[in-house]
């Protein structure tokens, strides 16, 4: 880049016969300034890309961690559901009339041979 500017300056000098040293310096400074700008832009782009990549990696990692957490929670949920099903079965076993009858027999109880039922109508009639 710098060489191109120098050649351009030389061509200008040869056309004009004598080159002004102030203008040459100004042009060199301007060229150097452009170089700096381009360099800064490149550095900024690289830093930006790096930052972007860093953010991407950190977000992806966070997502993976969240995914693992979600899996753990899903496993806990499934286990709680399983335990709930087991408790339902246990409850059904305890409610089973056959089990209650067997336990009652073990406790020495016997079935009532006759259960008297008092019809409601005569009582209502008396009132």
């Amino acid at each position: 880049m710098r060489t191109a500017h120098a050649q351009k300056a030389r061509r200008t000098v040869s056309r004009a016969g004598v080159a002004s040293p102030g203008r040459h310096a100004q042009r060199a400074v301007r060229a150097a300034s452009w170089d700096l700008r381009i360099f800064a832009f490149a550095i900024t782009a690289i830093v930006f890309c790096f930052a972007l990549a860093l953010v991407y990696v950190s977000q992806t990692t966070a997502l993976s961690v969240a995914g693992y957490d979600a899996q753990k929670l899903a496993a806990q949920r499934d286990e709680v559901r399983r335990q709930n099903s087991l408790l339902e079965v246990q409850s059904a076993r305890l409610d089973s009339p056959a089990r209650i009858a067997a336990d009652a027999t073990r406790l020495g109880m016997v079935r009532a041979r006759f259960v008297p039922v008092i019809p409601a109508q005569p009582l209502i009639a008396k009132r």
Partner: protein, 560 residues
């Protein structure tokens, strides 16, 4: 300074150029033609394609009590090479599993890399083993069908085999509905076999099986099984069955069959016990069928309850002599008394009035000779021979339930028609199914109208007299009107003759007699009491009926 010869440089360049070309070519190959293969290999290392099993539906009784459900139980597996002290591990497992440690140790010492130690462990046992913390042991969750009431309702429920297929009963008939549709999960996994949140993920959710609510009442079912078990023990009967039916819509409240089995441990069951005798055991109904013969004759206005004939102890039909039980003669006898005294000669007299054609037609109307269509797997049809195969004597024998076979359910359904005013309902067991689309309730199906409501009412009155004054007096329940009929039938042997001194005792009853809410049929095969087996059958009926009356809070319709 020594310079490198251009020839060597060219050679080196050529070598690099060739190497570069080869590498570029190889790279181009893998990027184009070999791409899919590479991709597949890479994907296979991280991808898992799993079948997500659908959960089998829950079966509940009419009040919501769980009769069958599927729960994931823990199965214990071992990787023997990773167990540091196999002898100690086998000893500890033997204690907790209640097994001999020897076979466990032998299995550990075999060359197997992976093995089940025991599948479907009780939760407490699994926890205790887990607490031991033995390296090389692990657990897998596996679905297991559980029946919280053990053998109660086994005949109606059926069972699920180790492959997850429903066999017999509800499990067999509704297998496709209960099992649902499996889903699929394709996901990428890390080396620790955990799902990756980012990356490939395809999921088809499983469609769980529908839950079924039955018409079965667990209390009535338990009462029926208790009474049947008791009678079987008392009479040393070879088999038996009880059916409790709601005659108003054909819904079945209980089906008990003996011998029975535990659906959770089918491997230990006698194969014969897997047969639901209520629907898959045809037998000669005997005198319980007299009610149908007389109902047909009354419906055809051929006889009335008060019509009489002279009973001489037998009837001659088709040149054959058909005797009353014990050959007893009763003289002038009304049609009602035919039922009260259970007279074969009287039934044959009514049958002759009816004629073979109408008798067969009515048997068909009552549903004999074809399956009832109940929603249970394994139903058989029974046998009513076509009229072309009848001998002249058959019109007499068929009138009192010989020479034909019915299933207990067919007979219960026929009595249901007499109980509800003459409509034959298709019996059913599933009241509703609930799936992702909501609840679908079963509508009762009236198959046909067999007799008029007047005929049905007349028959109920005659059957009430049979219990109050007749042969079925033992079935009377204090405070309630009961209508019913006993039956004692002989057992046909394979050669066509009857087996000596072995009988099937039965009783079909309904209560309250004026407006029956329940029909109960009891059948006992080969009771020790022989001809007196009907007494045990009526005892069983009373035991079941009293429990149901109390539980259903049915008001007494008589003074005790």
């Amino acid at each position: 300074m020594q310079t490198v010869r251009p020839r060597r440089l060219r050679l080196l360049f050529a070598l690099f150029a060739v190497a570069s070309l080869v590498l570029a070519g190889r790279l181009a190959y893998w990027q184009t033609f070999g791409r899919s293969e590479l991709l597949a290999r890479a994907t296979d290392q991280v991808r898992s394609d799993l079948v997500v099993a659908a959960t089998r539906g829950v079966i509940r009784d009419r009040n919501g009590a769980i009769l069958a459900t599927t729960v994931e139980l823990r199965s214990l597996y071992a990787i023997p090479k990773r167990i540091p002290d196999r002898t100690l591990a086998a000893r500890q497992l033997g204690v907790l599993l209640g097994r001999d440690p020897g076979p466990i140790l032998a299995a550990f010492d075999s060359d197997r890399e992976w093995m089940y130690v025991q599948r479907w462990l009780p939760e407490e046992t699994a926890r205790a083993i887990d607490a031991l913390g033995i390296p090389g042991l692990g657990f897998l969750n596996e679905p297991k069908r559980l029946y919280p009431n053990d053998s109660i309702g086994a005949a109606v429920l059926g069972f699920v085999n180790d492959n997850g297929n429903g066999i017999n009963g509800i499990e067999g008939f509704y297998d496709a509905i209960l099992r649902g549709t499996d889903g699929r999960l394709v996901v990428e996994r890390d080396p620790a076999n955990r799902d990756l949140a980012v990356g490939l993920r395809e999921a088809v959710a499983p469609r769980n099986g529908a839950d079924l609510t039955l018409t079965i009442d667990l209390v009535a079912q338990t009462a029926a099984e208790r009474e049947l078990t008791s009678a079987m023990k008392k009479e040393h009967a070879s088999s038996g069955s009880i059916i409790v039916l709601d005659p108003t819509d054909g819904s079945v409240r209980a089906i008990a069959s003996a011998p029975t089995y535990d659906p959770s441990a089918v491997r230990l069951a006698d194969p014969e016990s897997l047969r639901d005798r209520a629907i898959a055991w045809p037998y000669e109904p005997g005198s319980t069928l007299k009610a149908m013969t007389i109902a047909a004759a009354i419906n055809e206005h051929l006889v009335r309850p008060g019509d009489s004939y002279n009973d001489v102890g037998y009837a001659i039909v088709g040149g054959r002599k058909l005797n009353n039980a014990l050959g007893k003669a009763y003289g002038p006898t009304t049609v009602t008394q035919i039922l009260e005294r259970s007279l074969n000669a009287g039934a044959a007299w009514v049958g002759q009035k009816l004629g073979a054609q109408r008798l067969v037609d009515y048997f068909s109307l009552f549903g004999f000779g074809r399956p009832t269509g109940i929603d249970l797997a394994g139903e058989v049809s029974g046998t009513v021979r076509p009229l072309a195969e009848w001998y002249p004597v058959d019109v007499g024998t068929a009138s009192f339930g010989q020479g034909m076979s019915v299933t207990p359910l067919q007979l219960a359904v026929a009595y249901g028609a007499l109980a509800n005013g003459g409509t034959l309902y298709r019996p059913y067991v599933v009241a509703a199914r609930r799936d992702a689309d909501g609840e679908h309730r079963t509508a009762p199906v009236a198959v046909t109208h067999v007799v008029t409501p007047d005929t049905a009412a007349t028959l109920r009155g005659m059957l009430l007299t049979t219990v109050d004054n007749g042969i079925a007096h033992n079935a009377a329940i204090p405070g309630f009107s009961v209508a019913g009929k006993t039956g004692t039938s002989q057992i046909a042997s394979p050669d066509g003759s009857y087996v000596e001194d072995l009988y099937v005792s039965s009783f079909a009853g309904m209560f309250p007699a004026d407006d029956p809410k329940y029909v109960v049929l009891v059948v006992l095969e080969k009771p020790d009491s022989r001809l007196l087996g009907t007494l045990t059958a009526t005892d069983v009926f009373k035991g079941v009926a009293q429990d149901i009356l109390r539980y259903a809070r049915i008001q007494p319709d008589r003074r005790p």
